[in-house]
């Protein structure tokens, strides 16, 4: 630790003194002369013997709340003819003068500073050995919008924002259960990022909350700027491309996870909430599955499973078949492929890698550019370059179709982060298939499968409920069974019963019809 840090820690550990000048000097030394630091002087009850100062950060604190504080301390005190000497403690001032919803005495300099930089207002008054910390957070938030990366057709449109309290309120609004808990903690020595651990006390998997807290507690880092930082620091398989922590911007997804006995981790300054434990198959499930009728939900879930398989293996299988096992392709199809490849000078593996990389370039460029230009790049890339490449004989039309279907399939996977992992896996599979044929494909594919089977997410097997096989959880795996059939929560929940018996609607027979 540097000398400056040591000195800072020493100052933070100190308590406030009755001398206003000393306290103000300490604040000045710690906070410096930052442009956004404001100090508003006051006189308690209008008495010049009891000067004071309000400290707050401009932009973080709500000025109307600060005005209310000043009005209470200066005007109400005078109007009520209160004697400052009769209010010897901060507690007394809070209870008799102040009208703010949240105001509390504060003895430690550390707490005062933490409050100021979080948007609260610190009130220091001559003669008091405590300060008063008033909640005045009031910065400008982004309004609630539909999550851009998790669209749905039917269902709620609200998404999380960058404010942790707004986000927790979204969930509280959905689950009005008094046993819904939000445990607070702070991570990041410099950013002091607020983190809330949400769970339903009588449902959450036993020991899970403690495990989440333990993992958060062991984080020693200066800054948490986004939930990705926390995700990487608490996950079970840090070297794996698979994400073992689910992330979402949708409050309904979080509410659903909490009701299944899982834990959500809210992080301030990000609209992305983490959910643990998570399973591989959840990345294929979309909220629409549950909001539409179960036939529709099941059908589209099957389509997504197909998309998962295509996005992972289609280019590899194509390359493998064309390079090594062309006798496996039906004759008419083989002739069509061969005629398309006649003018292509590259081996099929190279052709596939070139197209895949070209597509990744277009995707990345489209993502980073301003939206209107991004769309233009996509159109130019996909239509013009694709057409030109085929016409120039650089790639075969069949390969363009294969890569296009693969990419479309990867976008059909609801979890964007998960589809990125699949993209990464596609390349070793492609290279192995193009180099060693079926042997290479099988070796890499089963190595991947072994790896996926070996992963855990907060004590739960990542590939559950398929492996290990859990019969009761199959109702919401490959197919989405009717709501009235899904009467059990996942096995790890404390209380697995989620609904009464015989919930299937029955047709009432009319009497005397």
């Amino acid at each position: 630790m540097s000398t400056a840090q040591e000195k800072l820690q020493e100052q933070l550990a100190a308590s406030f003194t009755p001398q206003l000048a000393d306290n103000a000097a300490v604040l000045d030394q710690i906070l410096g002369k930052s442009a956004d630091m404001q100090q508003r002087e006051l006189k308690l009850c209008g008495s010049s013997e009891y000067p004071g100062v309000c400290c707050f950060v401009d932009g973080l604190a709500d000025t109307s709340i600060i005005e209310a504080i000043l009005k209470a301390l200066i005007v109400f005190g005078s109007d009520l003819h209160r004697d400052p000497a009769a209010m010897p403690t901060a507690e007394e001032i809070c209870t008799t003068l102040m009208v703010n919803a949240s105001a509390k005495p504060c003895r430690q300099v550390r707490d005062g500073i933490a409050g100021i930089v979080s948007g609260d207002t610190l009130v220091l008054i001559q003669g008091l050995d405590e300060a008063i910390l008033v909640s005045s957070k009031g910065w400008k938030d982004r309004s609630i919008e539909e999550p851009s990366s998790e669209n749905n057709v039917r269902g709620p449109r609200d998404g999380f924002t960058e404010s942790i309290r707004t986000n927790t309120a979204h969930v509280r609004r959905r689950i009005k259960d008094p046993l819904l808990r939000f445990d607070a903690t702070v991570v990041g020595t410099r950013t002091q990022t607020d983190i809330n651990i949400a769970y339903i006390q009588d449902l959450v998997k036993e020991g899970l909350v403690e495990e989440v807290k333990r993992r958060l507690k062991r984080i020693k880092i200066d800054a948490i700027l986004e939930s990705g930082y926390i995700e990487e620091l608490i996950e079970d398989a840090p070297l794996s491309p698979f994400n073992t922590v689910q992330s979402t911007e949708r409050p309904d997804k979080v509410a659903s996870a909490l009701l299944e006995g899982r834990v959500a981790i809210f992080i301030d300054n990000t609209p992305v909430v983490l959910i643990v434990p998570t399973f591989f198959w959840q990345f294929i499930q979309a909220p629409d599955d549950y909001y539409n009728r179960y036939w529709v939900g099941s059908f589209f879930r099957c389509v997504r499973y197909l998309a998962l398989i295509i996005s992972l293996v289609l280019p590899s299988i194509y390359v493998m078949l064309v390079s090594f096992h062309h006798e496996m392709i039906p004759t008419s199809l083989a002739l069509t492929i061969a005629s398309g490849r006649e003018v292509v000078p590259f081996p099929v593996l190279l052709e596939a890698i070139m197209l895949e990389i070209a597509f990744e370039l277009m995707r990345e460029a489209g993502l980073r550019m301003p939206k209107p230009i991004g769309q233009a790049v996509s159109i130019v890339g996909s239509l013009i370059i694709g057409q030109a490449a085929v016409a120039a004989g650089l790639v075969s039309p069949f390969m363009v179709i294969v890569v296009a279907i693969t990419e479309i399939s990867s976008f059909a996977i609801p979890s964007y982060s998960s589809s990125l992992a699949l993209r990464i896996f596609r390349f070793p599979l492609l290279i192995a298939s193009g180099t060693f044929g079926l042997l290479g494909f099988a070796t890499v594919f089963f190595a991947l499968m072994l790896h996926a089977l070996s992963i855990r997410s907060f004590g739960e097997s990542y590939m559950a409920p398929a492996s290990p096989f859990r019969p009761s959880d199959q109702r919401d795996m490959l197919l989405r069974m009717p709501i009235w059939m899904m009467n059990d929560r996942p096995e790890f929940a404390q209380d697995t019963k989620r609904m009464g018996e015989q919930q299937m609607p029955t047709q009432q027979t009319r009497k005397g019809g």
Binding site: G437, A447, M463, A466, P468
Partner: protein
């Protein structure tokens, strides 16, 4: 105590059954049926059935030997009964058994893939690739291997569905007649070839049964279900091979299941889909390789007096790889080993070791209770 017991790995009954099926199925459907067809013609399925019944019996004996001390495998049990050095001898027998068993597994794997799909690829690729996957699986541990076996079981079901769908058009039951043409003794003698397949499964039980949940109560039942299920899933193939290809044709091939798979077709468009079937077949065969590495590493660790088998995994992989390469490098040697040597190694151990340990338990049971 072996490694998986100290780390308290627990596998479910379903996983245990799946492991048994995976271990038996791969060789039994093709390579073994070719050998049996050469001995008893169209009665392949009967020989498989007889072999299954024997397997069920030996699995039960294996379970009974372990039942009273469900936390001890054969090596740990023999240590308790007869001391450290005898346990090392038992471990050496198990090591040699799985080393010898690796030969037929490699014959199955290599001759399927190299001869039918990649004839120009060098042989060492077919040895190194499965060993690498097996090594990885072994490092992940028994639980992950068991989960893979569960996926493998699903793939075996799909494989059987595909072969049935593709073969029913040419199914001619007359090819399976007359039944028991060669008489019971010859059919029974031929069933010993299938016995050499389930021998791997009973030895698997001898090593992993202590890691199965409630092994003392349901281990025997699950083991027997595993053998019976393997027998039923396997029997579909000799029936199809006999009825579709005929016993005469089946007996001409080392890997007769591939001939059947190549023959299968659905409609006019999908004339060949054996590659899909081989893809489904890959998990069970890789599981076999993986389990051989696991069992030999466990027994080698016991012989060397190591607490963990992890250090032995690369060493035994090299030994297995060299042996496998030597076996499959020469077709005549491979077939000779498969038909003559492997049953002579497998059967005495698979039948003898459980019976020996059961007798020792009966004679020295008091010693075990005192310990």
């Amino acid at each position: 105590m072996t490694n998986q017991q100290t780390t308290r790995v627990q596998i479910t009954s379903g996983m245990f059954i799946a492991m048994i099926v995976n271990l038996i199925f791969v060789k039994a459907i093709g390579v073994t049926q070719g050998v049996i067809a050469r001995a008893v013609g169209q009665d392949m399925w009967l020989a498989t059935l007889l072999g299954t019944l024997q397997g069920v019996a030996v699995m039960y004996i294996t379970y009974v030997a372990i039942r009273k001390t469900p936390n001890l495998d054969f090596m740990a049990l023999s240590e308790r009964l007869l001391g450290k050095w005898i346990a090392k001898v038992i471990a050496l027998i198990i090591f040699l058994f799985f080393l010898a068993g690796f030969g037929p597994i490699m014959i199955t794997f290599v001759y399927h893939l190299q001869e039918y799909f990649l004839p120009e690829a060098p042989l060492y690729l077919f040895i190194v690739a499965p060993l690498l996957v097996g090594l990885l699986g072994c490092f992940y541990g028994l639980e992950v291997m068991a989960r893979l076996a569960l996926v493998g079981l699903l793939f075996i079901f799909l494989l059987n569905v595909l072969i049935i769908m593709g073969s029913t058009n040419e199914f001619d039951i007359r090819n399976l007649l007359p039944v028991m043409e060669n008489g019971f003794p010859r059919t029974f003698a031929a069933s010993l070839n299938f016995d050499a397949d389930w021998a791997l499964a009973t030895m698997l039980a001898a090593v992993v049964l202590p890691s199965v949940k409630n092994a003392d109560k349901t281990g025997g039942k699950n083991g027997m279900i595993g053998i019976a299920a393997s027998g039923l899933l396997t029997m579909i193939w000799p029936i199809l091979e006999g009825a579709v290809l005929s016993a005469e044709v089946t007996s001409q091939y080392t890997v007769s299941c591939m001939k059947l798979a190549r023959n299968a077709h659905m409609g006019h468009f999908l004339q060949r889909y054996e590659m899909i079937m081989i893809a489904l077949y890959s998990i069970p065969v890789l599981f076999e390789v993986m389990f051989c590495i696991y069992a030999t590493s466990i027994s080698a660790a016991k012989i060397a007096g190591l607490k963990s088998n992890k250090a032995m995994i690369p060493i035994v992989s090299v030994i297995l790889g060299c042996f496998g390469y030597w076996i499959v490098d020469d077709h005549f040697r491979a077939i000779d080993y498969l038909e003559n040597y492997w049953p002579r190694i497998a059967l005495p151990i698979a039948f003898g070791l459980p019976v020996l340990l059961l007798m020792l338990r009966l004679m020295l049971g008091k010693k075990l209770n005192k310990a």
